[in-house]
């Protein structure tokens, strides 16, 4: 790993430290100075002092903000300066801190919601993250989630997993005879696979944008990652 230590030129202490790694350049942003100071130093480095390393072939750039929270507008200001150099491609902007709302949304997404309920006709159960429903979904009832859906009961109504586009989501049910299934944007074809129910627990998943249904014991082969992320 090559490390390019940057010598201060105009400011007393350098606010932006640029390091070279195998994956490209990493910009470490000082998180104690003011944002304007940071901008000034970055501009100085990009436009004047570091011309020699910042030119040449395409380089991937990661920005590490440390413990500074930057609004999307502030992030845009930073990346705009870096993007002036045609050969610098911003790969990611990363901070060690997030807002409370983001943290809450993040928590919801990774949460496991347990519901004890019968979803009757006309009722909709919707949530972020995974849902475990201890009860039936009756015809005309709907269960929707951004993550996976597990129904420990009879799934007779509508189920939509991965509503914000997660194609890896699955829908599992103890008894699978739904009116319709959706995963991300894919809608199940009303086949006769539901009517000749095997009686066992089954799950639906996407493979090449086609919805397939398999017995539960195939889950470990088809989505082995499900177990690890929830552990």
């Amino acid at each position: 790993m090559v490390s390019v230590e940057v010598k201060p030129v105009t400011t007393v202490k350098s606010k932006v430290t640029i390091k070279g790694t195998k994956e490209g350049l990493v910009f470490f942003m000082d998180d104690t100075c003011s944002f304007d100071e940071l901008l000034a130093d970055l501009r100085e480095k990009i436009e004047h002092s570091h011309q020699q390393i910042l030119s040449g072939p395409l380089i991937r750039v990661s920005i590490k903000l440390g413990k500074r929270y930057c609004t999307p507008e502030q992030q845009e200001e930073l990346t705009k300066i870096i993007r002036q150099k045609g050969n610098l491609v911003i790969h990611l902007v990363e901070a060690d801190v997030i807002t409370k709302e983001e943290a809450f949304a993040e928590r919801l997404k990774s949460q496991f919601h347990v519901q004890v309920h019968t979803i009757r006709s006309g009722q909709v159960l919707e949530s972020d993250g995974d849902i475990l429903l201890l009860g039936d979904v009756n015809p005309g009832g709907t269960i929707r989630s951004t993550g996976n859906i597990y129904v420990l009961g009879h799934l007779r109504g509508y189920a939509h997993a991965g509503i914000s586009g997660d194609t890896e989501a699955i829908i599992a049910a103890a008894v699978m005879s739904p009116t319709q299934l959706r995963i991300a944007e894919v809608v199940s074809k009303p086949g006769d696979e539901w009517t000749q129910n095997s009686g066992g627990t089954e799950f639906a998943y996407l493979e090449n944008e086609t919805m397939l249904v398999a017995k539960m014991n195939y889950l470990s082969r088809i989505r082995p990652e499900l177990g690890e992320t929830k552990a």
């Binding site: 019968t118 009757r120 006709s121 006309g122 009722q123 009756n138 015809p139 005309g140 009832g141 007779r156």
Partner: protein
Amino acid sequence: MRVDGIGGTDVGIGIVVTSGKGGVGKTTTSANLGTALALMGQKVCMVDTDIGLRNLDVVMGLENRIIYDLVDVAEGACRLQQALIKDKRFENLSLLPAAQTKDKNAITPEQMEEIITQLKREFDYVVIDCPAGIEQGFRNAVAGADQAIVVTTPEKAAVRDADRIIGLLEREKVGMPKLVINRVRSHMVKNGEMLDVEDILDLLAIDLVGVVPDDDHVIKSANQGEPAVMNHESRASIAYRNIARRLLGEAVPLLPLEEKKGVFQKMRKFFGLK
């Protein structure tokens, strides 16, 4: 089965009869249940909340005695007592008819609750006949009720609507509703052409309070303005009376759905003639 609710105090119980779908027999069930309860010595008031499409008075044969109605009471045009029609055939039975010229928005759930509360002071049971649908009429009918009876027929559409209604009732204070399956045709169930009781209970997952067989006598008696329970022979009549007994807390086994065979027929079968 025990009647849960306010047993023990001197306040009556409001029971709403509802279904979601129209034409499954809400009014017939209300009329027969109310009459059966009255025949068993309970003081009963039936309330028709189907404003604009009133039927309960017709089924009960009391149409020509209506002077004031539910909306008059709500608007204060008359006292509650003046609007009640006492059924002369059963001393315990009264009817509060719906208005025919107004619509369902002519009364609010709060007014309805007030009227039902007043009635409950005087009667043991207030049987509320709910209109079809899930709009204002439904909300009015449910407003004063302590318990709910959901009527369905063994048809997919009716069961679907019953499921919807049960979902809506969960949000009200009526507790878990009880189910009446109406107009069951045993020969069709046997051939698998009609949903059977098990299928329906499996889906709706509520307590069953009665199964009423399809019976021509019900139509005949409704047209005559006499509730079917007045006839002691008809199978539907027995089923309705059994529902009333179950509501009163008696443990009554379900009626077998098979048509009763006469002694003569049984003998013929025994000798292998049929």
